[in-house]
């Protein structure tokens, strides 16, 4: 696990933790960045907070869209599946009928 505690600025930590892109970086890189950020002056950290806020807002917007997309996809799959269910029932019924008729014919 990456150690965020090296940064004293709790707000900044929260913002970095919320950044998906930051998490997408390899762990060694994440650690290197955290170590460097920890030593930055306050004004630069403040600027970084702005940067992360902006990035996170964009990311979250994107996440919502992705979730909506996944939801819609699942709804569509469900609807199609229900249609298939209905079709399958009819198919099964016709197969059963056919089997019955065949059986009767065989008996005769």
């Amino acid at each position: 696990m990456v150690n965020f505690a090296v940064i004293a600025n709790a707000e900044l930590v929260k913002l970095i933790q919320a950044s998906s892109k930051f998490h997408a970086l390899p762990v060694d890189k994440q650690e290197a960045h955290l170590a460097r950020i920890a030593n930055l002056p306050i004004d630069v950290q403040t600027r970084l907070m702005e940067f992360f806020r902006e990035e996170n807002a964009k990311e979250q917007k994107q996440k919502i869209e992705n979730l909506k997309k996944a939801y819609d996809e699942l709804v569509e799959l469900e609807a199609n599946f229900k249609k298939e269910m209905a079709k399958d029932r009819e198919l099964k019924a016709s197969q059963d009928d056919e089997a019955k008729v065949n059986s009767m014919l065989n008996n005769i």
């Binding site: 950020i37 979250q60 939801y71 699942l74």
Partner: protein, 692 residues
């Protein structure tokens, strides 16, 4: 359009880095000078976030919850099927497993890493595609943090330049697409397409490869070890983009200048009409050909070409204006004249068939065509005006002949102005002569005095002879037409006179001639009973004497072979009017009254008589035209002699005594003849206006 751009760049393996607008598409970057854009990047501020604190997180939670529920729904739907497979078909069971697994995986993803929903697909390929976004994010983080001076500078330079060049490339591509689309809207469509296709091809062949080169130079900059190398690569990349910009700009400037030169002419609303359609089409063709052939890469190369085209076409447009005015001339809108327009257009089209046009030759040919059209139009217009006048049978023959001649004239192509003028003069003069004669004949035919059966037979003969003349004598020789038609009339006039006499008296020509001859010889003893009957009838009252004089006049003319027709058209009317006047006086109209109203009241009286009698002695309808002629006189005489034909007619509106006059009365018509200056024994001339 953004999608097209994106694809265009992807095809060219150009990567757009640092897209500010995220998944919504290509960023819309305003075009700005290079320096300004660089400065903007240096001073880049993080835009303020307007989303309320926690709002996104709440939304994400909501959506996660929704999605989780949906996963449960789907799993619940599919699970019983996988559990009781025997009740379902195999294919359907496979599908149910698929959807169950999908829902299960989505649910698992939801309960996993919260960050994973930035990139929904965690496949390697997908992540690779997102890798550059993560790279950019990292570079930006480093840049904002300001740590690691060399790396920072390098990344900042790279980012700044990359963003700048990306923006410029995006702008260039947007410009290319926008310009191409704009050019397409230029009218006419062919020209718009040509502009746009040319530019699009040029941009693709020349400008975009420079952009690709710039992009690879920027990649090298990213890999470079020193700032000097970075600067060199960046400088070179900027140079490439500048060059692409400049090439595209020059090309577009050339198109704009060319278009500006030809546009006012192309859009000129006064250039309308059938001829302008032809000329405009030719102009457009020339514009297209000129543009296509021209070198669009040299600065200012197209403007003079466009201006030259317009100047070259000015005299052609003047000629076309004249042609349009002529076609719209209100005095040349008759049916025949209109038929000229289609061949005129055809000939005009021939002039503008080839490209390029020799303006001088086209104008000369066009003007000649206009002159020829004017001459032809005069001929057609003449026929248009004559048509309503030529209603008689003879007139119709002339009309048909003239129509044939007009058709021949219209079919003639490539006439010179002089030839057309000569044709025009010849035809019109010829028609005038023919029409004059035809009208004369038709007028004679309609005369009531020649309405009898015998006269009609003569008219058939006249028509046949006149037809021959009109069909054989060329119109170009009006004098000959007149002479020949006059000859026909002269030759048949004697027959016509005798026919009128026969119709008027109801006797044969032999009987009439014989009776008159007997009377002239005054050999009463040798007069046979029929001739005596005729003479008695003739002398029974003054009206019959007038009829006799009428016959006598014909006889004299016949025997002396004089030109009776000339008398008709000469003072014959006057003579016959005097006959009418004599009759008027005889029935009690006062001379002063007769002179006062020019015989109008007398005509009314005669119309009354004609109406009451109803028919001539041959049983044909007596037309109530108010004019005294042989038929009316014959009918009055027969009525007076109590002819059974008129047994039912008790009263004709005038007293019997007025009509019963002593034989001494014939002095009156002699006086008439005298008044006409005729020789002794020559009766009053027979007017073509003479009535029944």
């Amino acid at each position: 359009m953004k999608k097209i751009l994106f694809n265009l760049f992807r095809e060219n393996r150009i990567l757009f880095l640092n897209r500010e607008s995220g998944p919504s598409g290509v960023p819309s970057v305003p075009k700005a000078p290079k320096e300004a854009r660089s400065a903007r990047l240096v001073e880049k501020k993080v835009p303020s976030v307007t989303v309320k604190e926690g709002q996104h997180s709440d939304d994400i939670e909501t959506w996660c919850e929704e999605l989780r529920d949906k996963c449960d729904d789907v799993k619940a739907l599919a699970a019983p099927i996988t559990d009781n497979q025997s009740e379902y078909t195999h294919g359907f069971v496979v599908k149910s497993v698929e959807i169950y697994n999908k829902a299960d995986k989505v649910k698992a993803d939801l309960s996993g890493d919260a960050h994973s929903w930035l990139y929904t697909d965690h496949s390697t390929a997908q992540m690779k595609e997102h890798q550059h976004e993560i790279d950019v994010f990292e570079a930006a983080l480093v840049g904002e943090s300001g740590y690691g001076s060399t790396e920072r500078e390098k990344n900042k330079d790279y980012l700044r330049t990359k963003e700048s060049e990306d923006a410029r490339m995006a702008q260039l591509t947007t410009d290319v697409v926008t310009i191409t689309a704009d050019l397409k809207t230029k009218l006419p469509k062919e020209l718009g397409d040509l502009y746009s296709n040319n530019f699009s091809k040029y941009a693709k062949d020349k400008c975009l490869p420079l952009g690709i080169e710039a992009n690879s130079l920027l990649k090298k900059a990213m890999e470079a070890k020193t700032n000097t190398e970075i600067d060199a690569y960046i400088g070179e990349a900027q140079g490439k983009i500048d060059e692409a910009d400049s090439l595209a700009q020059t090309y577009v400037d050339n198109i704009d200048e060319f278009d500006a030169a030809i546009r006012p002419t192309l859009d000129d609303k006064t250039h309308s009409g059938k001829i302008f359609t032809i000329v405009n089409g030719s102009f457009e063709k020339e514009v297209l050909a000129t543009f296509d052939k021209a070198d669009k890469t040299a600065k200012g190369a197209l403007k003079p070409l466009g201006e030259g085209l317009v100047t070259g076409y000015e005299p052609i447009f003047e000629m076309a204006t004249k042609a349009e005015e002529l076609l719209k001339d209100p005095s040349l809108q008759g049916v025949k004249t209109q038929t000229l327009q289609a061949p005129f257009e055809d000939e005009m089209k021939n002039i503008f068939k080839k490209t390029p046009i020799n303006a001088e030759e086209a104008v000369t040919a066009g003007n000649t065509l206009i002159d020829v059209y004017k001459s032809k139009a005069k001929v057609a217009d003449k026929l248009d005006k004559l048509t309503p006048e030529l209603t008689g049978t003879e007139g119709q023959v002339v009309l048909k002949t003239a129509e044939g001649e007009l058709d021949t004239l219209l079919a003639k192509r490539g006439m010179t102005k002089e030839d057309a003028e000569a044709e025009q003069v010849k035809l019109i003069a010829g028609w005038d002569a023919k029409v004059e004669q035809a009208k004369k004949i038709d007028a004679m035919k309609t005369e009531a005095g020649y309405g009898g059966a015998k006269c009609e037979a003569v008219f058939v003969k006249i028509r046949t002879e006149a037809d021959k003349v009109l069909k054989t004598v060329p119109c170009e020789d009006p004098a000959k037409v007149k002479t020949d038609i006059d000859a026909v009339l002269k030759a048949t006039n004697k027959e016509l006179q005798m026919a009128a006499l026969m119709d008027g008296t109801g006797k044969t020509d032999v009987e009439i001639k014989k009776a008159l001859s007997m009377r002239d010889k005054k050999d009463k003893k040798k007069i046979d009973p029929i001739s005596q009957g005729i003479l008695t009838a003739l002398e029974a009252n003054p009206l019959n004497v007038i009829a006799a004089r009428y016959a006598e006049a014909s006889q004299i003319n016949l025997s002396e072979n004089t030109d009776v027709f000339e008398q008709f058209s000469g003072d014959g009317y006057k003579g016959w009017k005097q006959v009418n006047k004599a009759f008027a006086l005889k029935i009690g109209v006062k001379e002063a009254d007769y002179d006062k109203d020019g015989g109008e009241s007398f005509k009314e009286v005669v119309r009354g008589i004609q109406t009451k009698l109803g028919k001539d002695i041959n049983g044909k309808t007596l037309v109530p035209d108010g004019a005294i002629g042989p038929l009316t006189m014959g009918a009055i005489a027969a009525w007076k002699a109590k002819d059974p034909k008129y047994a039912e007619v008790k009263d004709i509106g005038i007293s019997d005594t007025a009509l019963v006059a002593a034989p001494a009365q014939p002095k009156k018509p002699n006086a008439v003849a005298k008044a006409q200056g005729k020789k002794k024994g020559q009766g009053p001339a027979i007017s073509p206006k003479a009535s029944v």
